[in-house]
């Protein structure tokens, strides 16, 4: 039998005081999808960095086609045709889709011809993954989801033999995930070896041939995916029994209407949106990319304007010219993109939590430090935020803990209405469960919650009612007892 395409042998990496990876071994065959899963902090990032040449291991070796290689730089990894699809978007917003895809690898040619050629080559790649995107558009104009597609095409453009996906679907919706998985199957059929790292276990189950589970820097198990169910996988990851997909939903009694929109619209974006959220109720807005549900919630938060219709809070008609107005009326907003919109990364955990209540914490303009610390500490405890202390920078926390800060700062504010946009994006299984439980608790306490998620199943688990939007209009309305993925998906394209 020939050697596996990629072998990672007894990799060990320590940092002062911590063992990041201890004796990690796994292999990848050509034409195989091998998933690597584990909670945040399990060592996945370090392992990916080692494979990509960003971090040198203390001991152990990496073999490609049976030949030991020293990957001391990402370019060496690329030369060995091992490419990584980054989780973080590292694109130039001012350049076109095609230019980004072939950045640094532009084909030689005469000036005028090159652009057309680039666009054509990019179009080929995009067609491969069934995405209809104009290669000449500037990346800065694209949505987060479309930018992720560009990132994937960039890796594909290197004609890799080993392709490493690091959370490729973190910002894709269900529809696009299906496309991506189809592409991965195609790549696999072409004989590529694929390492797939994702928090979304349902995808991992669908796409992988084998799975390696990491916990605390060690390999817990490498198994064939066939015959393994999600519960067993989660148990391996967290080391304890833990039901996946469980949203902690509790029956609640809903009160008066806290938030209401009456036929609000904005020219060319959305129109005739009427919705109600009662106290203690969780209402979801479902829809595919481009359905404009994000624009609707931003209008409700005063971050975008509306041309018609009215917004009512606790029965009172309100004019929301800015987020500050919305906050004054007791509305809180947890944006999906926590790095760009949710947090001030170079500031501390404590400062970030206190951001919504600065005015309350002032005495003659000075910060009441003791009160700030008390508030922030109690939230760190209730939300189980893993941090070294309030002075740790927000940028140093894992995704799940960052998300908890975003939630925490709105709990601190204490408004009656919460808009949560994809609160579990890119968050690991354990934190996901805690976040859903927190959102249920908030509803229990009588908050009115408007929820957006990319995963329909999560939304169905969490919500009392779901509205469906398509092309800027409401196309469906379901009560919990009538939830059905099929019926809802039907409204996606209505």
């Amino acid at each position: 039998m020939s050697a596996p395409l990629l072998e990672v042998k007894s990799i060990r990496k320590t940092y002062p005081g911590v063992i990041a990876l201890s004796d990690v071994t796994f292999d990848l065959k050509a034409g195989e999808v091998h998933a690597v899963v584990g909670e945040n902090g399990a060592g996945k990032s370090t392992l990916l960095s080692v494979m990509n040449g960003l971090v040198a291991p203390d001991s152990g070796e990496i073999r490609i086609d049976g030949q030991p290689v020293v990957l001391n730089d990402p370019t060496v990894a690329l030369a060995n045709r091992l490419a990584l699809v980054h989780q973080e978007l590292v694109l130039c917003p001012n350049l076109s889709v095609a230019e980004n895809i072939f950045l640094g690898r532009e084909p030689a040619g005469r000036l005028g011809k090159t652009r057309a050629m680039l666009n054509r080559m990019a179009k080929d790649l995009l067609d491969q993954i069934h995405v209809n995107l104009d290669p000449s558009r500037a990346v800065g104009e694209l949505s987060l989801n479309e930018q992720q597609i560009v990132e994937i095409c960039r890796a594909l453009a290197c004609r890799p033999r080993v392709l490493v996906f690091d959370e490729p679907t973190a910002s894709l919706n269900d529809d696009q995930v299906v496309h991506l998985l189809a592409v991965i199957r195609k790549l696999k059929a072409n004989g590529l070896g694929i390492v797939y790292v994702s928090h979304r276990l349902s995808e991992v189950m669908q796409i992988s041939d084998r799975v390696t589970v990491l916990r605390d820097g060690s390999v817990v198990a490498t198994r064939d995916m066939a015959g393994l169910n999600e519960a067993a996988l989660v148990a391996l990851m967290v080391g304890r029994e833990h039901k996946p997909g469980q949203s902690a939903y509790k029956e609640r009694r809903c009160g008066d209407v806290a938030l209401e929109t009456k036929a609000i619209g904005k020219a060319g974006v959305f129109d005739d949106i009427s919705l109600q959220v009662r106290t203690g109720e969780i209402v979801g807005i479902a829809g595919l990319l481009g359905c404009q549900r994000e624009a609707v919630v931003r209008a409700i938060f005063g971050d975008q304007s509306i041309d018609r219709g009215e917004i009512r809070v606790q029965g009172r008609k309100v004019q929301l010219r800015s987020p500050r107005d919305a906050i004054a009326f007791g509305i809180g907003f947890m944006p999906a993109d926590r790095k760009r919109e949710g947090l001030i990364l170079p500031m501390s955990v404590g400062d970030n939590i206190a951001m919504t209540i600065l005015r309350r914490l002032g005495r003659l303009g000075f910060m009441k430090r003791r009160q700030r610390n008390a508030t922030a500490n109690s939230l760190v405890r209730t939300l189980a935020i893993k941090t070294n202390g309030l002075s740790q920078l927000a940028s140093q926390l894992s995704g799940g803990n960052q998300q908890k800060i975003v939630i925490g700062k709105w709990i601190a504010r204490g408004g009656d209405i919460v808009i949560a946009e994809d609160p579990t994006r890119g968050v690991d299984v354990g934190a996901k469960f805690e976040i859903w439980r927190t959102i249920q608790d908030l509803a229990e306490q009588g908050k009115a919650i408007l929820l957006l998620t990319t995963e329909l199943q999560e939304m169905m688990d969490a919500c009392d009612r779901i509205l469906v939007m398509s092309r800027g209009r409401v196309t469906g309305h379901f009560h919990r007892k009538d939830f059905s993925a099929e019926a809802i998906a039907h409204c996606f394209v209505a």
Partner: protein, 338 residues
Amino acid sequence: MTEKVGEHVMTMSTLETQVASQARPPDAWRHLSVSETSRVAVLIALLIAGQAITPSFLSLANIHVILLAVAAIGIMAYGMTLVVITGEIDLSIAGIAILSCIAGGLMIPTGSAALVIGTTLLTGLAIGLINGILVAALGIPSLITTLGMLGISRALANIFSGGQALYPEPIAAYLWLGRGDLVGIPLPVVLLVVLGAAAIALTKYSIFGRALYATGGNVKAAALSGINVVGVRAVVFAISGACAALAGMLESARLSYINPAGFEGMELSVLAVTVLGGASLSGGSGSITGTVVAALIIGIVNNLLNQLGVSIYLQQVVTAAVILAVVMPGMWQRGIAK
């Protein structure tokens, strides 16, 4: 048992962060803490070198000379630091200083010190506020806004004064600002220290300070958290304008001469002090203490070069070299510069 697991996971996630920060050095712009130490080290080295070169270096008289020389630039740099923390820049300070002083100077014939001083400061505040409104409310980039304002205010200063210098001799209180002292300490130095303390309180201990760093760190996230980002930026430009007017007045009073062509290139010296003080032009970082140390470094270098009789042009070369020497080690350490 769960506690133990939690602890372990915590150290692991800090570790992942370490890995991440190794992979992405540009983040290091955000906190140049290493250069904080190198800044202080350079300051101490200069003090020792100074004493070795000229025995009178650490005499009270010479310390007064050094502090007097940096008073104006330091006060302007306080304002500039606040502006730079929000991620903006103020290139109009020299223009504001001169126009404010001319505007105040036009009040000299009234003989009222309050009117002269008040007009000077209010003019600076008003021009700064205009800058702030243009930048924050109308969204014009600060580089362009303040560059334009620099040109406009210099030109207006010439128009109002007819190109002639004004002489504040009749206003005793005005002269006192630049030449007087309080319990033996020159007044500009008193103001440098008092305003420095106020600026430190503002940036470190006030709620405005948190809003300031938030606006510079991530303006979108700050706005979505309910911070008045327009107000914050308008206020810092107004403060910078007032600081410029005050600094201009101290210099004019010291020279007892309001020169409509004065302060040439001052904005760049002030910006240099601010950057040397650790503020990153990308916003979100910087400190008043850093700016103070930076101003002292520049002041001492110039003082020593003066005592050694080095020409003014060579002084500029040496000053620029010192700035590079202080800023670069920190960057190397963090892998920003290759």
